[in-house]
């Protein structure tokens, strides 16, 4: 299954059915130097592809490697071998600079937990990805505020740092940050966990809208109904778990 991903029309996903994310023969192991240099193989021979407008769900038991796979795509875990094409960048081999550029405009990530500079107002936390892309401050703020309103973050909180927010509020700020720019590729790690029904529905609608505009999405959802509603395909990562000899 070799599909070309490095054609320029990648940027207009509606006209391109090729995969935005293509993973080939990917493997991963951890070497724990301070625990007798134990080598722990956690993934081998992983293959998958995600097309524009498609949402792929990662499933598998706890510890099977769902988050590990997602982190390798994001680039904060190093691949041992194989390739991870996101657009025309192979994250498995790319220089840090290329990954930084990829994260600015192409690849979005909603991690499980929000990590921010303390004291920065929520509005600026959400607008920051746009500012980095050179969007004028006023426009970036306006888009951030629209998303915060949609996610039911009370307006009186927008000028406060999210560090003291409740878990669910922090998660919604994190989601707003991940959806403020229309990334062609999106990674979502448990985006609906710890949300009430109303806000869960808002988030599901945001993800559906991202699919409709052509985003290629890889998600981890423990919420089975969310999974059924959003995912076009499921990949059980257990099949990539190295067999113990």
């Amino acid at each position: 299954m070799i599909r070309s991903t490095n054609i320029p029309s990648f940027w207009s996903p509606r006209f391109c059915r090729c995969d935005v994310i293509t993973i080939s023969n990917l493997s991963k192991s951890f070497t724990l130097h301070n625990q007798g240099a134990a080598v722990i193989p956690v993934m081998t021979g992983a293959n998958l592809g995600v097309a524009p407008g498609e949402c792929l769900g990662l499933v598998g038991a706890s510890g099977s490697g769902k988050s590990t796979l997602m982190r390798m795509i994001w680039g904060n875990y190093l691949a041992a071998s194989g390739s991870i094409m996101v657009g025309d960048v192979d994250v498995a081999k790319a220089a840090p600079r290329e990954i930084i550029t990829l994260r600015r405009g192409t690849l979005g990530y909603v991690s499980q937990f929000l990590r921010v500079v303390p004291r920065v107002p929520t509005m600026d936390v959400v607008a920051e990805p746009l500012l980095t892309l050179g969007v004028p401050a006023e426009e970036a703020r306006a888009r951030a505020m629209a998303l915060l309103a949609q996610l039911n973050i009370p307006e009186r909180l927008w000028s406060l740092s999210p560090t003291t927010f409740s878990g669910g509020e922090q998660q919604r700020v994190n989601i707003a940050r991940g959806f403020v720019h229309p990334y062609p590729a999106l990674l979502l790690d448990e985006p609906t966990a710890s949300l009430d029904l109303v806000n869960r529905e808002v988030v599901l609608t945001l993800i559906e809208a991202a699919k409709a505009r052509g985003a290629a999405i890889i998600g981890i959802f423990h919420d089975e109904q969310a999974r059924a509603r959003l995912c076009d395909r499921l990949v059980d990562v257990t099949q990539f778990t190295p067999k113990v000899a």
Partner: protein, 263 residues
């Protein structure tokens, strides 16, 4: 030009095989990296690992014993190690900034806050008093020092204010590369956070590049694009900041990361 376009250009700074020895003792050795416009590079490592030595060699405060430090000057690529002292000093005034860990090392304590900032402008040729004063007040505002403190001496400021003043003094001339040695060390956590936010905004708005030495892994995670880990004078690991912190490859980095609670 957008930051994206800038990042595709050639390195602002290219370091090759840099070494500095103190007699028989290694200060730093075998150091090599490229820094691109708009990038922030963090340097971490235990006490005595050579971070300050390296920074001093890069900024021209110390002469390395070996290696190249190629800087993209307005006249083209130049090895700052081989440069005449006068030319290097000029570059330090116009293109570089150096933020010392102790603000007293980077400020003139007997000169007013406004004077500290204005002095740097005069050093690069500004002569119009009104404009110098306006620029100084503008920069003091950006680092959140109120306009009515402009005539106060730094000795009347708190540590955090002194550090912010040092940053204003350094950035007023619009440098392209900022060296910082533990810029947030010794500041309380909330002042530290404000400083971090300020630095991030400046990197974004002015497209400046920075090399920042710190022992605080939470700070580098929030500020640096790339991270270099030093031990015993050598760079043992370098890469994307969150990769080095989340999936450290070297034994020492694993120890460093696992010995702090949560970064």
């Amino acid at each position: 030009m957008s930051i994206l376009a800038k990042m595709k250009m050639q390195p602002l700074l290219s370091v090759r095989d840099l070494a500095k020895f103190y007699g028989g003792r290694i200060g730093c050795a075998d150091v090599g990296f490229d820094l691109y416009p708009g990038e922030v590079l963090g340097i971490v490592g235990e006490s005595g690992s050579g971070k300050s030595t390296l920074l001093s060699c890069l900024a021209g405060h110390l002469a390395p014993d070996r290696g190249e430090v190629i800087f993209d000057t307005k006249e083209g690529l130049r090895d700052t190690v081989l440069m005449a002292e006068a030319a290097r000093r000029r570059l330090a005034r116009t293109d570089w900034a150096y933020v010392h860990q102790n603000p007293r090392d980077g400020l003139r304590m007997g000169v007013s806050a406004g004077g500290n900032v204005g002095e740097r402008l005069m050093a690069v040729g500004a002569r119009h008093y009104g404009q110098i004063r306006d620029a100084a007040v503008d920069w003091l505002g950006r680092v959140e020092i109120a306009a009515d403190r402009v005539d106060d001496r730094p000795s009347a400021f708190s540590g955090g204010m002194q550090q912010r003043l040092q940053i204003a003094r350094n950035l007023v001339t619009g440098p392209r590369l900022v060296f910082m040695d533990e810029p947030t060390g010794g500041l309380d956590v909330s002042v530290q956070a404000r400083l971090l936010d300020l630095l991030r905004g400046l990197v974004r708005e002015m497209g400046l590049s920075a090399i920042i030495v710190t022992h605080d892994l939470a700070v580098v995670r929030l500020l640096a694009d790339r991270l270099m880990v030093m031990k015993g004078g050598y760079v043992v690991e370098q890469g994307l900041t969150d990769q080095v912190l989340d999936d450290p490859q070297h034994e020492y980095t694993q120890l460093l990361v696992s010995s702090v609670l949560q970064v």
